[in-house]
Symmetry: C2
Subunit: 252 residues, 2 copies
């Protein structure tokens, strides 16, 4: 974390590196064996934020989102989805109030109005090395049911990301990067149940999931263990990619 | 349309009114009796754009999108949906080149990099009074199959809006504002066929549409005309609004 003096320098010089008025905030959903968490940063006592950052002057926005997430998680090539721009004129006022006493407003980066572009990411949280940024003391996973009140409009950003993700389960595939290469139908169902926070009917789940045409069934059941070993599936990547772009078959 | 001199003033002074680096572009889909069009602006010979504009310094982004669309269409309260931010660092270069010779870059609004927030709108094109903006000579409806090459990345913006709209047909309702208060099932089907640009099976359409629970059937069939008059439907607005937010019933 920056010292007060370094922070003051940061606020004074940010406009040289970054495009003003635009920020990026990331909702990183972490999954592992039926548990769903979200990545949060702590600025100081009870002040929590989502990971975010700014856009370099000539940087594509997807690249900026990837850069920010790599810095916070250590991961490359995260599956990232832009989902909404938050543009309430008052949304960054709390940020301004926080850093208000450091510099006069005309020199202070945080005195600007910021629109923020929301991205969400889905990762296996065991792969992540959470790393705080220059403005925070810690970066941690938080159980989705226990997320503290977040500063600015970050609670709204988190809720919107979650709503979008749940809606997208109805028309786009999910799970690549989160599941092992081969998995059973109950394991995939568990992922959906975790995201939706409810139990699903086993038969309906299987029927519908197979209907999407994005799974390949292995001829060999899982070895060892139960008397009747369950079938193993993997994603059919070609169909998976097509469905990401065009939505599932079986639409209109 | 502004004269060269007025345009030069506009470029010099825009930063006093608007937030730099951010623009809004609108894809206005117009429907009427099985025809689908899109609203385009002509700057000069063969230079076509989507309607757009900038964000006033303290204006909410939804309000800016509504203001821009009211100016181009005369309509209030258009159903508007934010769908994507386009942020390629080179995307506004063509705009810069167009207005490049008017002013030195440091004074020229169009020398800035712009991220643009895409909105789409659905309207009955008979309700619209197309009105050009200060930078264009005309504003007209164009058949979706005959849209000319658009400047900047506006062809991509149009394509992304259309893809999003078609995807959303699978999980969100559509048609309020576009249909008369009461309509027959074939009339609603025609709207879907127009958007999707393909024929749909009559029985499947009816079964699926009724399954969404967003339609109310009137007890009285349409008067006059055919021997067997078709049933009339209207939208159940409560369920319609709920489905707009949460997606259709029958998801996971």
């Amino acid at each position: 974390m920056l010292t007060q003096e370094e922070l003051s320098e940061y606020c004074k010089n940010a406009h040289e590196n970054y495009l003003p008025h635009i920020s990026i905030d990331c909702v990183v959903f972490g999954f592992h064996e039926g548990v769903m968490k979200v990545l949060v940063l702590k600025i100081k006592n009870d002040e929590w934020y989502l990971p975010g950052g700014f856009l370099l002057k000539t940087e594509p926005i997807e690249m900026a989102a990837n850069r920010i997430l790599k810095e916070r998680t250590g991961l490359d090539d995260i599956f990232l989805q832009q989902f909404h721009v938050f543009g309430d004129p008052q949304r960054s006022k709390e940020h301004f109030d926080m850093y208000n006493d450091m510099l006069p407003p005309e020199q202070n980066w945080f005195a600007n109005r910021f629109l923020t572009i929301g991205y969400y990411a889905l990762v296996d949280f065991c792969d992540v090395n959470p790393t705080p940024d220059q403005l925070s003391v810690s970066c941690t996973w938080c159980d989705l049911h226990e997320v503290p009140k977040l500063k600015l409009d970050h609670t709204l950003i988190l809720k919107t990301a979650l709503d979008t993700l749940r809606l997208q389960l109805n028309y786009q595939p999910i799970g690549y990067n989160l599941m092992p290469k081969q998995f059973t139908m109950p394991e995939l169902q568990k992922l959906y149940e975790t995201i939706l926070d409810k139990k699903l009917d086993r038969r309906n789940f299987q029927r519908r999931m197979l209907g999407f045409g994005i799974l390949k069934r292995s001829n060999e059941p899982r070895k060892g263990g139960a008397h009747k070993a369950p079938y193993l599936y993997s994603f059919d990547l070609e169909n998976y990619e097509a469905a990401l772009k065009e939505g599932f078959k079986g639409g209109w």
